[in-house]
Amino acid sequence: MGAIISGIVILVLLITITATGWTAASPDRGIVLGVSLPYSHLKEPAVLKMTGSYRIELLFLSGGFTVLAVPVLLIQKPFSLFFFLQIMWFVGYLLAFDRLLAHWEKALKQLKKQKGWMVSAPRIISIDTEVARLKGKMPVSKWWMVPSLVISCIPIGDILIRHTDSQYWFLALMPLTFQGAFWFCRWLSVRGRSTAYCDNSEINIACHALTIRLWTLCRAVLSAGAAICLSVSWFCSFGGPSEWFWAITMLTFLIAAILAGIFITWLAIRKKRNSLLEGMGGSILAEEDEFWSRGCYCNPYDPRTMVEKRLGIGWTINLGTVKGKILAWGTIGVVAVLLIGMFIMFVRMDVIPFTLSVSDDGVRISAAMYSTKFSPDEIEEISLIDSVPDGRRTNGAATESYRLGHYYIPDTGDSLLYVYSDSSPCLMIKLPDRTIFFTARDPADTLAAYEALSK
């Protein structure tokens, strides 16, 4: 299962990076490979040769990392090694793509300088006063997103009325969390500074109206879909396995629909906007190349924290501002701490064995996590079984090698598992409030534990 999920994530990353890299070589708002060029020079032979070479190298890079992904997915034991290899693959792929882009961006900037294609003095901000004046009227009304907000509150109402003892608050809050994300994206679209692409106000207005309207419409539609899917999934999650299947199917469909919707909208905007800009000829007004490098933006003279990306879809952080630095480095720091913490946790789980010891203090089961202790007087029944029945993990770890932590097993209720997949038999200990399943790495140790408890 872990390999399947990892495989899907690797596939998504391969497609995303390759698609982003591929489209970076197509002019968008006069920008090619992160470098802004006058429209009249976008189809120069030297530029086309560079973008062609870049694309070939991108395909080789993605092909190479696809091949590298195979051993990464096949090595599943121990889990800490599997986790480590995944992270190394992701970091390696991102770094390699970064180097590729840096090389060709530098080459194109050198060509631009050589040919004297600078369009305006740097650090000049160009604002179209007509766009600034009319921008407020461009988005689709936010009232279209209100019904989605209301629908997203239904699971919260349900949990308050019918399932007050439920632990699944996070599931009930998920629809509202998605709505929050859509509202935030809408806010970013509407609040962001408009770019004066050229000195023709009509074209600037048309480009912005098209961009803002389509993005806000896309978000209104996706937020409605998300609200309905997630609310229905909530009700399905209280049914049996067949309902869970529909809930998971709907969630998968929702995520695919959101990604597809964003991609289609982005493509449509890009195509229409570029046809408007290329049709009018002339030069772009904004010269910001010195602040962009490999898709990253660092402009201390620009007070904005988030700006529209030059490569790919969405926004990027302005590393030149204090807020931007805190946001960027804070996020990287949190992610790094989480990954390192998780790696240490997985190493401990792989290395520290499950042990059961009986002493005057009582019975102690030790593991890297979820250690437990109880008195022999609490034991209602002990037995040896061939394998642990299937159940649902509530708080623990499940890998190809072991299952550890809290599970819910239909036959026994709340259970604690300390079970190696390839070790049999399994010791089952029934206590008043839970059932414990235990195997040692060596089956002889499991039998010894059974005999010690039987006494």
Partner: protein
């Protein structure tokens, strides 16, 4: 019209905004009755404090280039039917420019050429 602001330049931003709007009027890019963005809209676009834009608009209003209406925002003032005379301040500014040119050894012909170019770009001059 396009406002081009140099965020790292010596000239204060409010003065750049004021100068560019006057240039826009002179070049015919802004016409009498044309609306300008509100203070908040322009401040949000540029990413500066609203007080800076307010200062620029207040200066333009005091100098008679724009009118500010609470409902409609800032608008370009109609050109007066009775042409105004070149006032003392304008004459002093012209004198300063001519003196700067003389101090740099620029010839009269070159200076007049530059003046002619500036007059040419100010499409609104001469009642056009």
């Amino acid at each position: 019209m396009i406002l081009q602001l140099d965020m790292s330049g010596e000239t204060p931003i409010y003065l750049q905004i004021r100068n560019q709007i006057i240039l826009g009027i002179g070049r015919g890019e802004l016409h009498p009755g044309d609306s300008l963005p509100t203070v908040r809209q322009l401040a949000s676009e540029v990413g500066i404090n609203a007080m800076t834009v307010n200062k620029a608009y207040a200066l333009l209003k005091a100098e008679g280039y724009i009118e500010i209406d609470r409902r409609h925002g800032a608008m370009i003032r109609p050109i007066p039917e009775t042409p105004e005379e070149i006032d003392k301040e304008m004459k002093e500014q012209l004198a300063l420019l001519a003196a700067q040119a003389a101090a740099r050894g620029i010839s009269r012909e070159k200076f007049m050429e530059a003046c002619a170019e500036a007059v040419e770009s100010a499409k609104m001059l001469g009642g056009n």
